[in-house]
């Protein structure tokens, strides 16, 4: 249309622009995730990433064969954990590959930095995948907008800042890219794209348990298309290729194993596969036989087959051949289920139902554009749009049930918002077919008023665009602010601001873990609540009893029971489990509310679920029904090991009228502790480590020993 710029045609100019924009989006996506590295340091965040980091190191140090067969005897002591068979190895293998690739190029880089920066790099890839998806379902404009949105949407950033080395970091990219490939294979009916979908599905299976979402959503898409009478050979080719290859590939992951053949989560995919074959067969039969007869026949046959299939499924489930749905899955349907039946799931904050403000907090403007996108998808109902609508509905539902599933909602929200925004742009930025020209053709008014009318028709467009541009700027503003203030704390290191605005780094966790690493036997067993298991293994390198891989409820309940029991029972149990040290997190000095006393009720609940005779939640509330910790606390509370370990000698620091700064209550006046001795307490009293005493050489109880030695004689041991 126009002249060449820089010797490029208009088409090439757009390509170059798109490339540049995508590149910039990638840079922004990576850049906005680096707050935590700049504020703190290049460190692995939170809890699960520590496990991933540790296993990655093991993989890098020992090679894939040993990693695959790794039995970790230092976790879940004494049960141990078959690590190779109970994890999704995708993220570790990815990091190790990148690490080895860089080494091959003679770029010496620390494996920790590979792990820290993996998620930001993959978020750039996610942006590109989202662009492809947007382009697939609408056009390049929608794609670019979607990519820009996903690059900075807090809902996704929350899981992919630098240092947040978790499965989701790469899984969202794989999710989006698998869906993109699937849509393309459906559109083209290409077996190659179907196979590619399967390959990326395999990668996804290897990376995150959320692959179940894919293996249910794609069959649902197929089923919906069949139900809408939109069967086509393209669909048949795409789904058959994907399902067969994808399932066989997914079974190669040891953690998944034979699950696709017998668990309920995978049955929908299998059923749909059978259904597609039947439908394909009937379509084929219809082409060779007379129509009226067979249509009738086919309809009845289909109905009977469907009913039979469901009946067989139900029967097999009831007979236990097909594994029943797991508890975590039930809690997706009934939000109250977990609280009653599986406290261990309900105790995790990210498994709580989502509060309304969370949607706005994580998605801001996008949540308003989301329904508009769905509306536009409905207006032009292609096979691809059916998929988008289904994805929207299900992701929206699940994100309402569990906070952390906002993560799976975010990509579709971005795509939908991209579509809606692209429609807005198309309509309001289109100045080509100027309205006045049409008017002139009809009414032929004087040219003086023509410019006026031109102004009138431009004005709403400009007004709307200014409005939307303002929203977009605000969106960007909001995203940056959220990212920097809410999602960029490593939670291993805390920061606080003094009243004079000074910046304090609170590094108690690493202080305590480092103390354990340097001052205890390498074979020492450390008991703590499961939240800190991965960090203990990763930073202190000591054996733990329970960790964040909450596979054994009984073992966790035992730890809960130890914490909730009186000192003597706890001592006996701790010795039985060969515990050397007990670690508790205590926030009373600093006002850190995520401490063990606040988590204590969950420990009690979980323990009560397994040991109802020994632990009773009600007995931990005082007579007024309050969860008190001071002198007015209930007897069970005051005698519990957790209470003693937290408040032992705390009064010495806080004075006789001391307060617990988290619970805003008076401290208990005296805390006696005989069976455990204080080994280490960190600077801000956040982590307290106690040593489990050896049995007395003369067979006395430790109470008797302490009584003989007199009050506080044993308490002041210099370390």
């Amino acid at each position: 249309m126009r002249d060449k710029v820089l010797g490029l045609s208009a088409h090439d100019q757009t390509s170059l622009l798109r490339l540049a924009i995508l590149g910039l989006i990638s840079v922004v996506a990576i850049g906005s995730r680096l707050y935590s590295v700049i504020r703190f340091e290049s460190i692995i965040h939170e809890f699960d990433p520590w496990f991933n980091y540790r296993t990655t190191r093991y993989l890098v140090d020992n090679g894939f064969d040993k990693f695959w067969n790794w039995f970790d005897e230092t976790a879940w002591y004494p049960l141990g954990r078959v690590v190779g068979g109970t994890l999704y190895p995708g993220i570790m293998v990815t990091s190790a590959t990148i690490y080895n690739g860089l080494r091959l190029l003679n770029i010496p880089v620390d494996i920790r930095n590979v792990c820290v920066f993996l998620a930001p790099v993959f978020s750039a890839l996610t942006a590109i995948a989202t662009y492809q998806l947007g382009k697939e379902v609408k056009d390049a404009t929608a794609g670019l907008l979607a990519a820009a949105f996903i690059g900075i949407a807090p809902g996704y950033i929350s899981r992919s800042v630098a240092g947040s080395y978790d499965n989701e970091g790469i899984a969202i990219f794989l999710l989006v890219f698998t869906f993109f490939l699937w849509l393309r294979s459906v559109r083209l009916g290409s077996a190659m794209y179907g196979a590619l979908t399967a390959v990326f599905y395999f990668y996804m299976v290897s990376a995150w348990g959320g692959y179940v979402f894919i293996i249910n959503l794609i069959p649902l898409h197929v089923f919906a298309l069949l139900a809408m009478g939109r069967y086509s050979n393209r669909l048949y080719v795409a789904y058959s290729t994907f399902y067969v290859l994808g399932t066989l590939a997914s079974m190669q992951i040891p953690f998944v194993g034979f699950q696709p053949t017998f668990t309920s989560e995978h049955m929908a995919a299998l059923g749909t596969f059978g259904l597609v074959q039947l439908v394909a067969f009937t379509y084929y039969v219809r082409t060779v036989a007379s129509q009226q007869h067979f249509q009738l026949l086919v309809r009845f046959a289909l109905l009977i087959l469907f009913v039979l299939g469901v009946a067989v499924l139900v029967l097999l489930t009831m007979r236990g051949v097909i594994a029943p749905w797991t508890g975590r899955f039930y809690s997706l349907w009934d939000t109250g289920y977990a609280k009653i039946h599986i406290p261990i799931i309900a105790s995790v904050s990210e498994h709580q139902p989502t509060a309304w403000p969370n949607f706005f907090f994580d998605l801001n403007l996008l949540i308003w554009l989301f329904p508009a996108g769905i509306y536009f998808s409905f207006r032009e109902l292609t096979d691809n749009h059916v998929f988008l609508i289904l994805y929207s509905i299900f992701a929206a539902y699940f994100s309402g049930v569990m906070v952390r599933l906002i993560l799976t909602l975010t990509p579709i929200v971005c795509v939908m918002a991209g579509i809606a925004m692209a429609n807005v742009f198309e309509t309001y930025l289109d100045f080509r077919k100027a309205a006045p020209a049409e008017l002139e053709a009809h009414d032929a008014p004087p040219s003086a008023t023509g410019s006026m009318k031109r102004y009138y028709t431009y004005f709403p467009k400009i007004a709307v665009m200014v409005n939307f541009m303002y929203f977009l700027f605000m969106f960007q503003w909001h995203c940056s602010w959220i990212t920097s203030s809410a999602y960029s704390s490593p939670s291993v290191v805390l920061a606080s601001r003094g009243p004079d605005g000074s910046h304090h780094i609170i590094d108690d966790f690493r202080e305590a873990y480092y103390w354990l690493r340097k001052n205890t036997e390498p074979s020492a067993k450390v008991l703590s609540w499961w939240d800190y298991g991965y960090q203990l293994a990763g930073m202190a390198d000591r054996t733990t009893l329970v960790d964040n891989n909450t596979w054994n409820n009984t073992h966790i309940a035992t730890v809960g029971k130890i914490m909730a029991s009186d000192e003597d029972t706890a001592y006996e149990l701790a010795r039985r489990h060969d515990v050397d040290y007990v670690l508790v997190i205590f926030g009373g000095m600093l006002g850190y509310s995520g401490d063990d006393i606040n988590k204590f009720l969950w420990m009690i609940r979980i323990a009560q679920g397994v040991y109802p005779d020994d632990v009773n939640e009600q007995s931990f509330f005082n007579r007024e029904g309050q969860y008190a910790i001071g002198d007015d606390a209930s007897a069970a509370m005051k005698n519990s090991l957790m209470h003693k370990l937290c408040y032992y000698r705390f009064g010495d620091v806080m004075g006789p009228k001391g307060f617990d700064r988290v619970r805003k209550q008076r401290l208990p006046t005296s805390v006696e502790l005989d069976n455990f001795e204080e080994a280490y307490t960190t600077e801000n009293w956040m982590v307290r480590i106690y040593k489990v005493k050896e049995l007395d050489s003369l067979g006395r109880t430790h109470h008797a020993v302490a009584k003989l030695k007199g009050p506080r004689a044993a308490a002041h041991i210099p370390f």
Partner: protein, 453 residues
């Protein structure tokens, strides 16, 4: 004091060097005897003290009240053994506390604590820490049926005790063979805490023995309303072995060791005090584990100990045990040495067999070929051998049992043949179908058309 200690150390050193005066105790030969008065004691306990010296002990006899007595200097023990023969002493040394004596035992020192009817509170409190509770002030052990007949007195407080616990590790064969040993005992009874596994009664009262007022039998004020100690529950001599294998003997009578009672007619006191002092001062029944090892049964005997096994491996476990008596180490012969593999619960518990060909003259080797449980996890392999009178042995290793490697599982299961057959039939069928499709060219040009549309 420092000079004296140095001198003693030098003396001890020289006595070890001299071959003729070798120490017979395993843990050392520095013995401190605390008595009310040194001169009188040397006279009263000459037989006992001479036998100790003859056995190679370097005996220091000191006044209980001597303020220069200390048990530790700079955290090191000055003595290996202590005999308290001053039951009435209210304090020892300048300021030796109960803690010092407990610390002495905890650091491996052995003690003989002798009491009498006039027992100080210090002794009572010390004994209470070991689960031995001496009877009230003013009581004594009385037996109107068995008493020292040559010293007939109306209250019969020198009883002839004969009820010995059958502990071969402590008592020598002549005493065990003697059906009616006569051990003269004049002193106070004690109640032994049967809940403490470290404590065992060695000499208890017979059916007619009871603990009563030593002053006047019928004084009503001393008649307690509580049940009196009598018979079997009345402890006369008890033995205690701490978790660190230090040994303590509690005797309700200091006179038991005296020349007067040792030399009395029909007395077996001499044998008895010889046995208990030998036991207490680690001269016999000292059991030790020399070495232990485990390996895969299929591996060479000299191979290194692996850091983990796989489920259901067969392993070979060996432990070498020695026992000390008569001045040297001997192989320890028993048929009840048990091996245990536990992971919270015991998974295996089996008796080890003695290897007939000994590795050396001083050890007995026990071995077992053990099939590990079909369960992975961190197991504790332990030999926890505790027998009355013998030093306890508690050897444990934590060993991980790993699951099978991915390529170690059995292949070609017979139960799976239908599936193998199924897959091959599938392959054949697929090939046949392809062949039929490819070479059946004639009429298919029409029928394949709608398929492609």
């Amino acid at each position: 004091m420092r000079l004296g200690a140095l001198l003693r150390t030098w003396l001890a050193f020289s006595s070890i060097c001299l071959p003729s005066a070798s120490a017979r105790s395993v843990t050392g030969d520095r013995l401190l005897v605390l008595v009310p008065a040194v001169e009188a004691a040397i006279h009263d306990y000459s037989i006992f003290l001479d036998s100790l010296k003859r056995r190679g002990f370097e005996v220091s006899i000191r006044d209980a009240a001597n303020s220069s007595i200390v048990l530790h200097i700079d955290g090191d023990r000055l003595y290996d053994h202590v005999a308290l023969l001053a039951p009435a002493a209210k304090r020892f040394g300048a300021a030796l506390s109960i803690h010092d004596f407990i610390h002495f035992v905890n650091t491996g020192g052995n003690m003989i604590v002798a009491a009498s009817a006039a027992l100080s509170d210090f002794h009572r409190r010390l004994a209470a820490q070991f689960g031995v509770e001496f009877d009230k002030h003013g009581t004594a052990v009385i037996d109107h049926s068995h008493y020292l007949s040559s010293k007939v007195s109306s209250n019969h407080t020198i009883v002839a005790a004969s009820r010995l616990s059958h502990i071969p590790a402590v008592l020598s064969p002549p005493l065990l063979a003697d059906e009616h040993p006569t051990i003269y005992f004049e002193g106070i009874a004690h109640n032994y805490d049967s809940q403490i596994p470290l404590l065992a009664p060695l000499l208890t009262g017979s059916r007619s023995t009871y603990s009563g007022s030593s002053v006047a039998v019928d004084r009503p004020s001393l008649k307690s309303t509580q049940a009196q100690l009598s018979g079997r529950s009345l402890g006369l001599v008890s033995i205690f072995q701490s978790r660190s294998n230090a040994r303590v003997v509690f005797s309700g009578s200091s006179a038991l060791f005296s020349d007067a009672l040792v030399g009395a007619e029909h007395s077996t006191n001499g044998l008895f005090i010889n046995d208990i002092s030998q036991w207490a001062f680690q001269e016999k029944s000292v059991l030790r584990e020399v070495d232990h090892r485990h390996r895969l049964a299929s591996a060479a005997p000299s191979s290194l100990q692996p850091d983990h096994y796989r489920v259901s491996n067969v392993i070979n476990y060996e432990i070498d045990l020695s026992v000390y008596y008569e001045n040297k180490w001997h192989p320890y012969i028993a048929d009840d040495v048990q091996f245990e593999a536990t992971m919270l619960d015991p998974y295996l518990r089996l008796t080890l067999n003695r290897t007939q060909v000994p590795k050396s003259a001083t050890v007995a080797t026990y071995h077992g070929d053990i099939k590990l449980p079909d369960r992975y996890g961190t197991f504790t392999f332990s030999v926890n051998y505790k027998r009355a009178g013998f030093s306890s042995i508690n050897v444990h290793d934590t060993v991980a049992i790993w699951p099978l490697r991915h390529d170690e599982y059995p292949r070609f299961l017979s139960a799976a043949y239908p599936y193998y057959a199924g897959s091959f039939v599938m392959v054949a069928g697929f090939l046949a179908l392809c062949a039929a499709w490819l070479w059946n060219t004639g009429p298919t040009s029409k029928s394949s058309k709608p398929k492609s549309s």
